[in-house]
C-alpha cells in the first residue's frame, strides 16, 4: 500500500582530512549507521532495505558500496540498491529510498553516505575525469575550471567582484565553527578569501571545498513504521531531480542556475510553497564552490537575479536571520564525497527534529529545503522540501 515517507533517524561522524583519518571507510560507515539506528531507536533487524552509493574511480574500486554493505553487521538478507550518479549520488540516496517506501514496497530503508573522497592520492585528477571526455576534457577542463564559468559569466552580467563571491565562504566558515561535525572550523575574512591562491578566475583556493573524510546515514520509513521510533518524524513533503545537457557547451546561460530554477518551481508546486522566502525556515544547499551559493539562492527564489550576494550580506542567511542557509558550513567546510552530498538532507532533518547540535539549532524550525547538485557543469540537481511532523 502506498504511504508517505518520513525521515526517522540520522547518524553522522565528525569529519577530518584523509591524512589525519585513522579509521577505514567501513569503520566510518559503521559508526554512522549505528548512530542512525540509535538515534531512531530502531533495531537493525527492522530494516528492509539499504540504499548506498559510490562514484567511479574515486576509491580505487567501483565496488565500494558493494563490499561495504555486507560488513556493517546489518544482516545477510538485506536488499541493497546502489546509486552512481557522480557528484549527486549522495543527494539521490534519500530520493530513491523515499520512492521505495512511498510505493509500499518497503517500510524502513537506510541511506548510507560513505567517505568516497577518501582514497585517491590525487583527488583532483580523479575528479577531473568527469569533465566531458573527447571534446572538453582535452582542453584542460577540470572540475573547478567548469565551476569557474558560472561566476565569470555572473560577473559579466551583474558586475560582481571577487570580494562579492567571498561572502558565502566567510559565512559558511562562521557557521562551520558552530558545527562539531564540520571539517574546517576556522573563520575567514573577505580579505583571506580574496588573497588566497588564484585557482581559476574568478575563483581562489578559499572558494573551493576541502577533501574531507566522514560518513553519515539517514533512515527513511513509512509514516506507520516511524510511530514507534524516537525522533519527531520529518515528512518528505516533496522531492524531485532534474538534468541538463552533458556538455558545458550545451548550457544556455552560465550566469544563472537555470536547471535548478526549473526544478525548484516543480518542487514548490508539489509542496504548495508560494513564497519560499517566507515559508521556509532552514536551508542547506550544495555549493562546493562559494560563488554557486548566491546563484543557487536566486534559482530557489530567495532573491531576484543578481540579488543573491546582497541577500547573504543582509544577514538574512545567518543563524539569527530569517532564512538560515548552510548552518552546517556546507561543502565549503566539509566535503566527503557521497557523505558530503547526503549531508544537506541529514542536517535539515536534524534541524526539523530539533536534534541539531545546540550551537547550530534554529529554534522552532518547521519546514526546510535540502539541495544537491553535481555532474559535469552541474548537470544534475536534486531538491526536497522537508517538514516537521508534530506528534499528536
Amino acid at each position: 500500500m502506498a504511504s508517505r515517507a518520513v525521515i526517522a533517524g540520522v547518524g553522522i561522524t565528525p569529519a577530518t582530512s584523509p591524512r589525519k583519518q585513522t579509521s577505514s571507510s567501513v569503520e566510518l560507515v559503521q559508526q554512522a549507521v549505528w548512530g542512525a539506528l540509535e538515534h531512531a531507536g530502531a533495531s537493525p533487524s527492522s530494516l528492509d532495505g539499504v540504499v548506498i552509493g559510490n562514484i567511479d574511480g574515486f576509491e580505487g574500486t567501483v565496488l565500494g558500496a558493494k563490499h561495504l554493505v555486507r560488513r556493517l553487521g546489518l544482516g545477510a538478507e538485506l536488499p541493497v540498491s546502489i546509486l552512481n550518479t557522480g557528484g549527486t549520488t549522495g543527494g539521490n540516496l534519500m530520493q530513491v529510498a523515499a520512492r521505495q517506501v512511498r510505493s509500499g514496497d518497503r517500510q524502513r530503508v537506510l541511506c548510507i553516505g560513505g567517505p568516497t573522497f577518501f582514497g585517491a592520492r590525487d583527488l583532483q585528477a580523479a575528479i577531473n575525469t568527469n569533465s566531458p571526455m573527447i571534446v572538453e576534457q582535452p582542453l584542460g577542463m577540470g572540475a573547478y575550471h567548469m565551476g569557474a564559468f558560472y561566476p565569470s559569466a555572473y560577473q559579466d552580467r551583474f558586475g560582481a567582484s571577487v570580494a562579492d563571491f567571498a561572502v558565502s565562504a566567510v559565512q559558511d566558515h562562521e557557521h562551520a565553527a558552530r558545527n562539531p561535525y564540520a571539517h574546517l572550523r576556522n573563520t575567514l575574512t573577505i580579505d583571506d578569501v580574496v588573497t588566497a591562491k588564484p585557482l581559476s578566475s574568478p575563483m581562489t583556493m578559499a572558494m573551493v571545498c576541502p577533501v574531507s573524510t566522514s560518513a553519515n546515514a539517514l533512515l527513511v520509513t513509512s509514516e506507520q513504521a516511524a510511530v514507534t521510533l524516537r525522533p519527531t518524524p520529518v515528512l518528505i513533503r516533496a522531492m524531485a531531480t532534474s538534468s541538463d545537457p552533458y556538455l558545458g557547451g550545451g548550457k544556455n546561460d552560465f550566469a544563472a542556475m537555470e536547471n535548478l530554477a526549473i526544478l525548484a518551481q516543480k518542487v514548490y508546486q508539489l509542496a504548495d510553497v508560494r513564497n519560499p522566502r517566507e515559508e521556509i525556515d532552514v536551508v542547506e544547499v550544495f555549493c562546493p564552490y562559494a560563488p554557486m551559493q548566491p546563484m543557487q539562492l536566486e534559482a530557489l527564489g530567495f532573491a531576484p537575479p543578481g540579488g543573491g550576494i546582497g541577500l547573504i550580506r543582509s544577514g538574512a542567511t545567518r543563524i539569527d536571520g530569517d532564512l538560515p542557509v548552510n548552518l552546517s558550513g556546507g561543502p565549503l567546510c566539509t566535503n566527503a564525497g557521497v557523505a558530503g552530498e547526503l549531508a544537506p538532507y541529514v542536517y535539515v532533518a536534524l534541524q526539523l527534529m530539533g536534534d541539531a547540535p545546540e550551537a547550530m539549532q534554529v529554534p522552532g524550525a518547521r519546514r526546510g529545503l535540502a539541495h544537491g547538485t553535481g555532474g559535469t557543469f552541474f548537470q544534475f540537481e536534486n531538491l526536497a522540501i522537508l517538514e516537521r511532523q508534530e506528534r499528536s
Binding site: G119, E136, G140, F149, A153, Q155, S200, S201, P202, F254
Partner: protein
C-alpha cells in the same frame, strides 16, 4: 595505550581506453581533419548543435541536416586556469565558451595570445562578445585539438 597498526595500502590503476565515437561525432572529427567545423540542425526547432548531436533533446527527433560553420564567433564566458592538473595543459591558460556564428550551442576551447601575467587584469582581456577565430593545428588527426586554439580577431 594504542596498538601499533598499519593504516593504508597503496593501490594503482593503469588503464587505457578506446571510446567509440559513433557516426555523429565521427563525422565531426573527420571534418576537423579537413579544417571544417561541422554542425547539425534540428528539423523542428532549427537549433544548430556544435559539436553535433544525433537527436534534439527538446524535440525528440533526429538531427540529420548537416552544415559547416565558420571558424569564427563570440566569447560568451571564460575562465583562466592558474592551476591545471596532472596530464593537463601547462597553466596559465584561458578556456572559453564560444558561440560560433550560426550555432545555438557553445563550443569550448582555448583562447591563446592573451596577456595572463596579472590575475586582476584578465577580465578585461576577453570581455563578453569578444570576436575570436580558430587557429588550425598543422597536423590534424581527428580530435578536438585539431583546432589548436582560438585567438582574438
Amino acid at each position: 595505550m594504542t596498538q601499533p597498526t598499519i593504516t593504508t595500502q597503496h593501490v594503482h590503476w593503469d588503464l587505457d581506453y578506446d571510446v567509440h565515437l559513433g557516426a555523429t561525432w565521427g563525422r565531426f572529427m573527420h571534418g576537423l581533419t579537413e579544417r571544417k567545423i561541422l554542425a547539425n540542425r534540428c528539423p523542428e526547432c532549427s537549433r544548430v548543435f556544435v559539436p553535433p548531436q544525433a537527436y534534439c533533446e527538446s524535440c525528440f527527433v533526429r538531427t540529420d541536416e548537416w552544415l559547416e560553420l565558420p571558424p569564427e564567433g563570440a566569447v560568451e564566458a571564460f575562465t583562466v586556469a592558474w592551476h591545471g592538473f596532472r596530464g593537463g595543459p601547462t597553466p596559465p591558460y584561458a578556456i572559453a565558451g564560444i558561440r560560433l556564428d550560426g550555432a545555438s550551442t557553445l563550443l569550448m576551447h582555448f583562447v591563446r595570445e592573451l596577456e595572463l601575467s596579472d590575475p586582476d587584469a584578465v577580465r578585461a582581456q576577453l570581455p563578453t562578445g569578444s570576436r575570436v577565430r580558430a587557429v588550425w593545428a598543422e597536423e590534424r588527426t581527428g580530435q578536438i585539438l585539431d583546432i589548436a586554439h582560438f585567438e582574438k580577431v
